[in-house]
């Protein structure tokens, strides 16, 4: 089965203050119908830029290399009607903040039926009937009343369901979800994820799911890509990522997160702060924060290499460190030099500056 979405060697540069700055480098992955791929990373990691590149929503003047193929067609070469059809029928986006993506002076009904009336030339009555059906699919059963309401009359969770309903109106083949539950309460997040999972199963849609939450990615995604400073650092099965991480950054990210069922004397924080691709030093971008970094790591950006079983890591020492990454600093058996790790709490952020 050939993939629905194939991204190959995607790099993006944006013009900032007269010069081009790299925001994405060498991103490659593929996604099949019915599958969910997670994109995980911190600020500046490039996860949103990846999704924007796919939806062709990059700012004007962006320089893109590499290829994005959707159902065999080159997305980067789409123009005019073909691009419009791709954006309106084939892919849908769900954003983090539904309030920022709805018009506050237009009713929910206008919002939901607009695309149907304009793209599908559906008569208004018929569009309204379908909108009520769509709302029912996302668990809103008093649709007629909701259509007459304004966005401010709905809670965040309800409004996000309306967004999902709107993105489903055209039965897209690919959903791009950019932190769709981050602004929601945990109980609402759980309901919204359940709705997305069910609809995805029923329609066989593929989903690219951006989150900063590794636990959530593990729970809802088949495979996960971990990104750092505009590049993929790890790509493998979501379930294995937690037990067998292949990049020091993925492991450090998991360890830095507090746990609900135990308290530790000190969290193993990662020194320094996340960087963007254009701020990153030569060599491995994570090296300045990595407790396993050696001189050679700082020399050149390592390639994303296969580790078997469709697992990939962009760490020079991945094979040697495998199985040791989740050991704590004290127990890493001399693999890391441990210089100033975790304990110099106060000045941690200084390291990368």
């Amino acid at each position: 089965m050939s993939a629905l979405l194939e991204v190959d060697g995607l790099s993006v540069q944006l013009p900032v203050a007269g010069e081009f700055r790299t925001v994405l480098q060498d991103v490659s992955f593929s996604l099949e119908a019915g599958q969910t791929l997670g994109l995980v990373g911190e600020s500046g990691s490039g996860k949103s830029m990846t999704v924007r590149s796919i939806a062709r929503l990059l700012p004007p003047g962006a320089r893109t290399t590499g290829s994005i193929r959707f159902d065999g067609a080159s997305v980067l070469d789409l123009r005019g009607d073909a691009l419009r059809k791709f954006r309106s029928r084939d892919v849908s986006m769900i954003f983090q903040d539904p309030r920022a993506h709805t018009n506050p002076v237009r009713k929910i009904g206008d919002f939901l039926t607009e695309a149907m009336r304009i793209n599908g030339k559906v008569p208004p009555r018929e569009a309204e009937r379908r909108a009520v059906e769509l709302l029912a699919e996302v668990g809103i059963h008093d649709g007629e009343r909701r259509l007459k309401q304004f966005p401010h009359e709905l809670s965040g969770g309800l409004l996000q369901r309306v967004m999902i309903a709107a993105s489903l109106a055209v039965k897209p083949r690919l959903i791009l979800a950019d932190e769709p539950t981050t602004a929601l309460d945990v109980t609402t997040q759980s309901e919204v994820m359940a709705i997305l999972a069910r609809l995805q199963r029923e329609y066989g849609m593929a989903m690219l799911f951006i989150t900063h939450d590794l636990e959530l990615a593990a729970a809802v995604c088949d495979r996960t890509v971990v990104m750092y400073a505009g590049a993929m650092v790890e790509h493998q099965d979501s379930s294995r990522l937690h037990t067998d991480p292949l990049h020091p950054y993925s492991a450090a990210l998991m360890q830095a997160r507090p746990e609900i069922d135990r308290r530790v004397p000190r969290l193993p924080a990662i020194p320094g702060h996340p960087t963007s691709a254009f701020e990153a030093p030569d060599g491995c971008a994570f090296a300045p924060r990595c407790r396993f970094a050696e001189d050679a790591c700082r020399a050149a950006l390592p390639p994303l290499e296969s580790m078997g079983d469709a697992a990939y890591s962009r760490c020079r020492r991945a094979a040697e460190l495998r199985g040791h990454l989740l050991a704590t600093a004290e127990h890493s058996g001399g693999l890391g030099d441990g210089a100033g790790v975790g304990d110099s709490a106060g000045l941690e952020e200084e390291v990368a500056r």
Binding site: T187, P258, D261, L267, A269, H273, G346
Partner: protein, 282 residues
């Protein structure tokens, strides 16, 4: 009351034997609007915090946790109930400058977004200096020394103290907000979702920093968060709020490990974990 470097009283140790809580909240209630439009934000809650302790307030949006924080620092006047801080009645917001400053030396707050809660045209060192001058009347080298000391406490170097907020990273800005709150040497620090907007790797740094500060300074925390894992890491006791009421309270470990209230259980089970099936926790 000038705090000379190195002579900070270890209130945590000296306060250990005290039985009077540093913060006692009794029957606190806040309603907005009246008549048919009346909305109850906080519905008669009571809790206590002991000196050097850390109390978590957990709840979802609309549970009343932020309204509670706003009443504690005097931004809202309670409809009913009482707030006692270190023996002083702080139920009513201060009106006079003198009372405002006295309140500022008892209780301070750190908000979620350090960017909107800092003056973007003021260098962060000046921002800290302003608070120190106001509360302790320091000037000249004594003032500068105190600002440097506050910077050190939260891990900010002199170069960063000369910077504007926009020149700092999110984590550094939150360090500034914490230093500003500590500049008045309050007994109680309220942290309202203070680490929620930070990247995971930075969140861990700030949580470690807050743990150090509590240990060194003996300041007590009221830590408001929707994130149960963060609450587990940073608090000793916790209350769970829903619709303005406290549905469960106790030692944080007990509340999270063996929740008695169905709502606390629902909250706990909604957190993604291995083998999680979204939406099946009802």
């Amino acid at each position: 009351m000038i705090a000379a470097p190195g002579t900070e009283p270890t209130t945590a140790a000296s306060g250990a034997g005290r039985t009077e809580p540093i913060l006692a909240v009794d029957g606190l209630r806040k309603t907005f609007g009246r008549g048919r439009k009346e909305a109850v934000a906080v519905d008669g809650i009571s809790f206590e915090l002991h000196e050097g302790g850390s109390l978590g307030i957990v709840g979802e949006s609309g549970s009343g946790k932020t309204t509670t924080a706003r009443m504690l620092i005097g931004l809202e006047q309670p409809t009913a109930g009482r707030i006692l801080v270190d023996g002083s009645d702080l139920t009513r917001p201060a009106r006079r400058i003198k009372d405002l400053r006295a309140r500022g030396r008892l209780i301070q707050i750190v908000f979620q977004d350090p960017y909107t809660s800092l003056d973007r045209r003021q260098k962060v060192g000046d921002c800290l200096g302003e608070v120190v001058r106001l509360h302790f009347g320091l000037s000249g080298s004594a003032l500068n020394g105190r600002v440097r000391e506050l910077g050190e406490l939260v891990g900010l170097q002199e170069r960063q103290l000369r910077a504007l907020p926009r020149e700092l990273s999110g984590g550094q800005r939150q360090r500034v907000a914490i230093a500003r709150a500590l500049a008045a040497e309050p007994k109680i620090l309220i942290l309202d979702e203070a680490v929620s907007a930070l990247d995971v790797s930075i969140q861990a740094q700030i949580l470690n920093l807050l743990a150090d500060i509590r240990e060194q300074r003996g300041v007590s925390y009221v830590f408001i968060s929707h994130d149960l894992a963060v609450i587990r890491q940073i608090t000793d006791t916790a209350i769970v709020m829903r619709h303005g009421q406290v549905v469960e309270q106790g030692q944080t470990a007990n509340v999270l490990d063996s929740p008695q209230d169905p709502y606390t259980r629902l909250l706990r089970d909604s957190v993604p974990h291995a083998g999680w099936q979204p939406g099946t926790v009802k």
